[in-house]
Amino acid sequence: MNIADPLLSLRDLKSYLRTPRGLVRAVDGVTLDLAAGRTLGLVGESGCGKSVLARSILGLLPDAILQKAGGEIRFGGRDLRRSTEAELRKVRGREIAMIFQDPMTSLNPVLKVGPQIEQALRLHLGLRRTEARERAVDLLDQVGIPAARQRAVSYPHELSGGMRQRVMIAIALACDPKLLIADEPTTALDVTVQAQILDLLQEQQARRGMALILITHNLGVVAGMADEVAVMYAGRIVEHGPTAALLADPRMPYTAALLRSAPRLSDPPHTRLEAITGRPPVLVDPPAGCRFAPRCARSREDCRREPPEIEEAGTGRRFACWHPLELAHA
């Protein structure tokens, strides 16, 4: 891992959201590095702040909602957090692309598929209409859509969910981004299609040498694809490390609990994690100490008093816990 010169580097990133119920600390001090070409699996329960983190990187949260509470997003030599909207627009879709969770609603229903791919090409690469059209067909072909030329003039509702997600991937890949953020790319899809989409992502990533942040609540997905895994809980990274080591030897009890309750690819989306009792804390007014303490079997008095900071623990691993699990396989 090339720590010296990461592609993306988050430093103490805080994104608070203004909601009618109060200020939600959706992302509350995340520090993370990602090197070029690598895959990071970002794992956590629904509502842990994964999606807000992803949108924060691209500056997609509206100013009316987002309170930039602090931190840096360093990417390609600049701080995206302090970039203007115009500068961010040059990054979005060009250098960092994003795939959203629900392909059924993420494509414009009144535009044909081809033109929806063409717009990024024309915007960022300055292609002319005819060139863009050819490239769009080519991209559809690359993401495994049969009869790409005919499909390019289809409307989204004429395609299946899996096909729509392939279109979304084609849009994301259009300008050869350096980083692709996939936010639960398979959650809304049929089980049989999920594996195909993941294969496609892996194949394209390898071919283009881009970095990938794969956001999921599904550890099974991460195990097969990610080089490293970051576990997120209540707006913070609680454990981070190489995939194999982290899955084999979780140190933070939350990670262990996640693993025990790991849903299989065959489970329906958003299955409750039965092994973990209780719910994640409301991020309007988080607990003072470790945010997992109320649900943690190992928690003691000190856990509730002061939050543990995430600390290096050798061999590229970090975790935040006062009473970590012992290394079993070391």
């Binding site: 879709g93 060009r94 494509l107 414009n108 535009l111 717009q119 509702h157």
Partner: protein, 318 residues
């Protein structure tokens, strides 16, 4: 598809028949004798009896309706008594004026509502949004003739830049026509604008929360391209429907505006007909306007399907 078309055409025919029946009944069930109303209080018994015979008022109601309907279907709406001209001809002579007014008003209303609606949806709850919502509320609270009078007061009387009344046909002079039509069109357009603006704004606000807008932003598209290229069309379906249906509401407004500005349209014809007790003219205009209104709604229904690809496919599947 064909079955649906047949079904729609069938119900269209039914509605048109009902419109004709209502128009007929309105006149024939009204208290008082139309012949007496036409001839006035000084009429002799003989002349009234003669006119009754001429109008077929002695026949049973159903017979009279069928006779009248037969005439209507052959394009005969009767003759006006004073001018002694065919009613249909009078209507068709006047209709272009009304049509110009209606279309002009729609263009003005949409020309204002589109930019204002789009911008206020984009900057919802901002100062511009609050201001335009207040203006819209004020306009909605103003009867159309009052909008016209305010415009007359400032543009015709105070500034003297546009005429308050009068009409120059398009065939005579384009500039003259535009000068005389500007204030009427503006009046009716301003009457209609707040409705369209508020509708577009609220639909647009909903569209802007959709996932595909997030995707468009994630691609790096600038705001105006997202608003125009992505959000406008999915937000405009109900606007288009209402614009179509509102031709009817506008006809009501057009009557007032034509009277206020002295435009020789069918609204003026209707009101003159009422004042002069030309009941065949009144009946003719009401029928004409009713049929026009129903046909417009029919076409709007049809167009709606063409515009939304999702509806279009459903129709084909069915």
């Amino acid at each position: 598809m064909l079955r649906k078309a047949l079904h729609q055409t069938g119900s269209l025919a039914g509605i048109l028949l009902a419109v004709s029946l209502i128009t007929f009944l309105l006149m024939n069930l009204a208290p008082g004798d139309p012949a007496l109303a036409i001839l006035g209080e000084t009429a002799t018994v003989e002349s009234i009896a003669a006119l009754r015979g001429q109008l077929g008022l002695d026949l049973p109601m159903l017979q009279r309706y069928l006779n009248w309907l037969g005439d209507v279907l052959t394009g005969d709406l009767g003759q006006s008594f004073r001018a002694n001209e065919p009613v249909l001809g009078a209507i068709l002579d006047r209709f272009p004026v009304t049509l110009e007014l209606l279309i002009g008003a729609q263009v003005v209303a949409l020309g204002l509502a589109l930019p204002v609606g789009i911008y206020t949806a984009y900057r919802a709850r901002g100062p511009a949004d609050r201001l335009s919502l207040s203006v819209a509320l004020a306009l909605i609270s103003t009867p159309p003739f009052l909008i016209g009078i305010v415009l007359i007061y400032f543009f015709a009387l105070k500034l003297g830049v546009l005429p308050a009344t009068g009409y120059v046909p398009l065939s005579e002079s384009l500039a003259g026509n535009l000068r005389t039509m500007t204030l009427p069109i503006l009046t009716l357009g301003l009457f209609e604008f707040p409705l369209y603006m508020r509708l577009l704004r609220s639909d647009m606000i909903q569209t802007l929360q959709q996932n595909f807008i997030s995707l468009a932003r994630a691609i790096g598209l600038p705001p105006w391209r997202i608003l125009i290229g992505h959000a406008l069309r999915p937000s405009s379906f109900s606007l288009i429907t209402v614009v179509g249906i509102n031709m009817g509401r506008l006809i009501g407004g057009a009557v007032i505006v034509e009277v206020l500005f002295g435009l020789p349209g069918i609204g003026q014809l209707l009101v003159d007909g009422i004042y002069q007790r030309e009941y065949l003219v009144v009946q003719g205009v009401v029928l004409f306007v009713g049929v026009f209104f129903v046909l417009i709604n029919f076409v709007v229904d049809f167009l709606y399907g063409v515009l939304d690809p999702r509806v279009r496919v459903d129709a084909v599947r069915r």
